[in-house]
């Protein structure tokens, strides 16, 4: 008997259905296993193809997913990955992303259960992005790439089916967001004038990693006129401004997605990433008087009384508390655009390197293949 056949003998590990695509989908939707779109039936044979890319025990949890705290075993993750349309070789990246979003600082419980519209955003760095053809260029957050679409979708299905993020039961988002279907892209390292995000966050150059962020959808920064670093950065700082963002309530880490053309202009102006962060943070503030009277009296003057208890209406309210809290990644293709991605606030970005079970850095997803 094969390993998977043995595992599927466990109670409720499998069920038999007529070999009919429509019937299987009717059943899966009825059980609440779907994101609303049709699913690929997770047959044992298909699941096993993905598990071939897993060097760990298939029935041992790699993490527990809030709010249900369901066990994310490779077996369960592989079933969700098949349902989402993943290719087998995507599996190590999916497992890595799941481990990252389940790390404590990310606050998956909050991200899943909040009324806010956030979703886990997964940014991929390193050679695995190219190996799996994860889109980092034109339309990176949009449709058209199997890796972006299906790995992101597999994460969502795992969040629902293992984590219990069922609308109005474990996912209380007031209205959700399209990014809850799939939200994954790679950094365009080749087009970036700076060190990649994962290297900046401590992963060795040449290794692969994911960085996960409890994020809102991208908000566009159109700047076709600025030809200086200061001009581009001022427009980005201006786009960060808002009186209704969660980020002002916390020591939040918003992501600045720099389009490659904007990034080049900024770098050519002599700005390092740290310089750019400082410039943006110093200029991204609103006067207290721009907030509603009730927010000033009931929140600002009370929650942050040391800053605002007696502050005048022109006192600055910073959108980001420290320059180093800002994350910068270069993503996208041609065009004079960047994007700001604000966050749930009560969450920290987590970067996790792609490693084999023995802790060594993986050079390729093929390293995970069972011999």
């Amino acid at each position: 008997m094969t390993v998977i056949a043995e595992l599927l003998k466990a109670p409720r590990a499998s069920l038999e259905v007529d070999d009919d695509f429509d019937a299987v989908n009717v059943l899966m939707r009825a059980r609440g296993w779907s994101d609303g779109l049709p699913l690929i039936p997770p047959t044992a044979a298909r699941v096993e193809q993905l598990l071939a890319y897993c060097d760990r025990p298939w029935n041992q949890p790699v993490a527990r997913m809030a709010p249900r705290y369901g066990e994310a075993t490779p077996l369960r993750l592989a079933a969700n990955a098949v349902m989402a349309g993943c290719r087998p070789e995507y599996f190590p990246l999916l497992v890595l992303a799941i481990e990252a979003i389940c790390e404590e600082p990310f606050n998956l419980y909050g991200i899943q259960a909040t009324t806010h519209l956030c979703a886990p955003l997964v940014l991929v760095n390193g050679p695995v992005a190219k190996e799996l053809d994860v889109n980092a260029g034109c339309n990176a957050f949009g449709p058209g790439w199997q890796a972006n679409a299906s790995i992101g979708r597999a994460i969502r299905l795992a969040l629902v089916n293992i984590g219990g993020a069922i609308p109005s039961l474990g996912d209380m988002s007031t209205f959700g967001a399209p990014s809850k279907f799939s939200y994954l892209a790679a950094e365009n390292e080749a087009a970036s004038p700076w060190e990649p995000l994962h290297v900046e966050r401590g992963v060795p150059r040449g290794a692969s990693a994911v960085t996960v962020i409890g994020a809102e959808c991208p908000h566009n920064v159109n700047d076709h006129e600025s030809i200086t670093a200061e001009g581009i950065l001022s427009t980005i700082a201006g786009t960060l401004l808002g009186t209704g963002t969660n980020d002002i309530y916390y020591e939040a880490q918003p992501l600045i997605v720099m389009g490659p053309e904007h990034a080049r202009t900024v770098a050519d102006g002599g700005y390092s990433k740290a310089d750019a962060k400082r410039y943006i943070q110093e200029r991204a503030h609103l006067p207290l008087g721009r907030f509603s009277k009730e927010n000033i009296e009931r929140r600002m003057r009370v929650t942050w009384k040391e800053k605002y208890a007696t502050a005048g209406m022109d006192a600055p309210v910073y959108m980001v508390q420290k320059p180093e809290d800002i994350l910068i990644a270069v993503i996208g293709g041609a065009g004079k655009h960047s994007a700001v991605i604000q966050t749930f606030g009560a969450t920290k970005a987590v970067t996790r390197a792609l490693k084999l079970r023995d802790g060594t850095l993986a050079r390729s997803v093929e390293d995970f293949k069972r011999r």
Binding site: P67, R68, A113, S168, L169, G170, M172
Partner: protein, 72 residues
């Protein structure tokens, strides 16, 4: 709250109706399926202070009942 309950303290979670199912699920997940969930009218945000006091007025007698019940 579940952890406090497990340690024997009197506990009650106050929530509004849309969050009741989430509260029940969480209490089961954390091994305290009988954790008292006290319903108050929704919403809790966006209220005047008088309305917030009204919510408290709704909840306090029930909290007292739960405490008395515990020490019967």
């Amino acid at each position: 709250m579940c952890e406090l309950r497990k340690r024997g303290l009197v506990t009650v979670v106050i929530c509004s109706e849309p969050f009741l199912k989430l509260g029940k699920t969480q209490s089961r997940v954390f091994g305290v399926p009988d954790l008292p969930l006290l319903l108050i009218p929704h919403p809790l945000g966006g209220l005047s202070l008088e309305q917030v006091e009204g919510r408290a007025g709704h909840a306090v007698p029930k909290v007292l009942e739960i405490i008395k019940e515990r020490f019967k």
